[in-house]
């Protein structure tokens, strides 16, 4: 008998093995839901798949009686716009700050301590400040995501920039490269896949800030909807929304990974 650490699943069984916990979870949910609904058909805690489907059909394919919008899609669109804008701003700022402080010792000495201090601020605590200064509109939500994620991306890019072998930088100089050429031609291209990776890792935090901001002050968005229907214990809406957010998060992660593989084939070999 092999040691337990040496046992590996056969390649065909790997999929099934990974799928099994999902199936078990769903079965457990269905059984628990049925048991509760048998005792009390009006139970709201564990809604049946049927009622979740009805709720989603209503949210996604029937216009809202009050506004005429298809709420599910307007929620999704609003949230993605906020998240996308915030993350994009953070990525650009983070790349700039990270690459400059990573490559240029003078800038690093001047700004690294500040960057470290800023990255330690729990930025949800800044949300009230943002609401006061920027108002309750879109701007404060986007800014929350941007300032929450930028320090993380900047520090990651900075560390990656310093990891690039000094031999390459010396080589570029012996070929006559100036500072700008070293940054644009040697550092930047090699940091792009690292940036995409940093964005992938920071999307989780991005969603957190988004939902927090929407929960507190918003009129639409996935986070807003979840916190709104909580008042009516509408688990049949909340659960599909949470699943949808999870699916979106997975999709972005997958897409970013594929983009990175496609654009930077040399990255894999390292």
């Amino acid at each position: 008998m092999k040691r337990f650490v040496n046992l590996t699943p056969p390649s065909a069984g790997k999929w099934l093995l990974g799928l099994a916990p999902f199936v078990v979870l769903i079965i457990v949910y269905v059984l628990a839901s049925q048991a509760r609904l048998e005792i009390n058909p009006a139970d709201k805690l564990l809604p049946s798949f049927g009622s979740m489907k009805d709720a989603m059909v209503r949210m996604a394919f029937e216009p809202s009686k009050r506004t005429g919008d298809y709420l599910f899609w307007t929620d999704t669109f609003s949230s993605l716009k906020r998240l996308g804008t915030g993350i994009a701003i953070a990525a650009v700022l983070g790349l700039l700050i990270g690459i400059l402080t990573g490559a240029i010792p003078l800038l690093s000495a001047a700004f690294s301590p500040l960057l470290t201090a800023l990255s330690l601020i729990p930025c949800l605590a800044l949300l009230p400040v943002l609401f006061i200064v920027l108002g309750l509109g879109e701007l404060s939500k986007v800014v929350l995501i941007a300032i929450g994620v930028t320090p993380f991306i900047a520090r990651d890019v900075q560390r990656r920039a310093r990891e690039i072998p000094v031999e390459q930088l010396i080589k570029a100089q012996t070929l006559g490269a100036n500072t700008a050429q070293i940054i644009v031609r040697v550092l930047l291209p090699q940091l792009m896949p690292k940036l995409i990776n940093a964005v992938r890792l920071s999307l989780g935090a991005g969603w957190l800030f988004l939902i927090a901001a929407e929960a507190i002050a918003s009129t639409d968005g996935l986070g807003y909807r979840i916190f709104l229907v909580r008042r009516y214990l509408s688990m049949e809406v909340i659960i599909p929304y949470v699943v949808w957010i999870t699916v979106l998060a997975f999709l972005f992660d997958y897409l970013l990974r594929r983009i990175s593989q496609r654009l930077y084939p040399w990255e894999l070999a390292e």
Binding site: E167, I170, K171, Q173, A180, R185, P265
Partner: protein, 248 residues
């Protein structure tokens, strides 16, 4: 061309090199051998301009060696010498681009076409003309070093510094690389400094062989005295006796 006068290098109490006095004429092929940690790479880095000297003077054509790397001194390291995100051709074209002014060093139009032609000629010379679209990680160790040498020569350096360039290669491939380096050295009229662990390689390639060693050792303070050039041989009069003396 290169003149070292009483060059010392120390870090605090630790002396690495002491009393280096040499002159090297244009076109010499100097090989630097010695045990690990005897300062031969330190001396190469002084020539490169990344390690400042502590005392004495080190001049290139009468001027002190600049304190940063420059186009007149090419370098090939044992590894990490090429840009992993560029193909073989891009690596060499970039070398031409870097010699231009500007923010990016990208070349366009006629400049680019001319650079590609030049680069292809160089790649053909080093035997990489069939691998122009490959990335460095797809190349063997020997091919990567050929690329690194080709790239270094595009800047037309007067001095080529080689820091154990073949240390990680198989013996069979080394022989090919030796032939290539000697070829390029003659053709481009380079002055070469090459650090190597391999004494035979040093004798075979160099016109001049330097052995770095510590002439004085204080057992109470092994760091107190530094290494210096204990043998400075013209390899035209090489003999087995020399080789034996050095090995001891």
């Amino acid at each position: 061309m290169i003149a070292a006068k009483n060059v010392w290098k120390y870090y605090g109490d630790q002396t690495v090199l002491e009393r280096i006095n040499v002159t090297v004429a244009e076109g010499e092929f100097v090989t630097l051998v010695g045990t690990s940690g005897c300062g031969k790479t330190t001396f190469l880095k002084m020539l490169l301009g990344v390690t400042p000297i502590s005392r004495g003077s080190l001049t290139l054509a009468g001027e002190p060696i600049p304190n940063e790397p420059g186009e007149d001194r090419g370098i090939v390291f044992q590894q990490y010498s090429v840009f992993p995100h560029m193909t073989v051709l891009e690596n060499v074209v970039a070398a031409i681009g870097f010699s231009q002014r500007g923010v990016t060093g990208y070349l366009f139009g006629q400049d680019k076409a001319a650079a590609v032609t030049l680069s292809m000629a160089m790649l053909e010379k080093v035997g990489l003309d069939t691998a122009t679209d490959k990335y460095p990680h797809e190349l063997s160790g020997g091919m990567r070093q050929r690329l690194a040498i080709a790239q270094a020569l595009m800047a037309k350096p007067r001095i080529l510094l080689l820091d154990e360039p073949f240390g990680a290669l198989d013996p069979g491939i080394r022989a090919d690389m030796h032939a290539l380096v000697l070829d390029l050295w003659r053709e481009h009229k380079l002055t070469v400094f090459m650090v190597t662990h391999d004494l035979k390689e040093g004798f075979h390639l160099g016109t001049r062989l330097w052995v770095f060693d510590k002439p004085r050792i204080d057992p109470q303070a092994p760091e107190a005295y530094g290494a210096t050039i204990t043998y400075d041989l013209s390899t035209s009069r090489r003999s087995d006796a020399d080789m034996q003396a050095i090995t001891q």
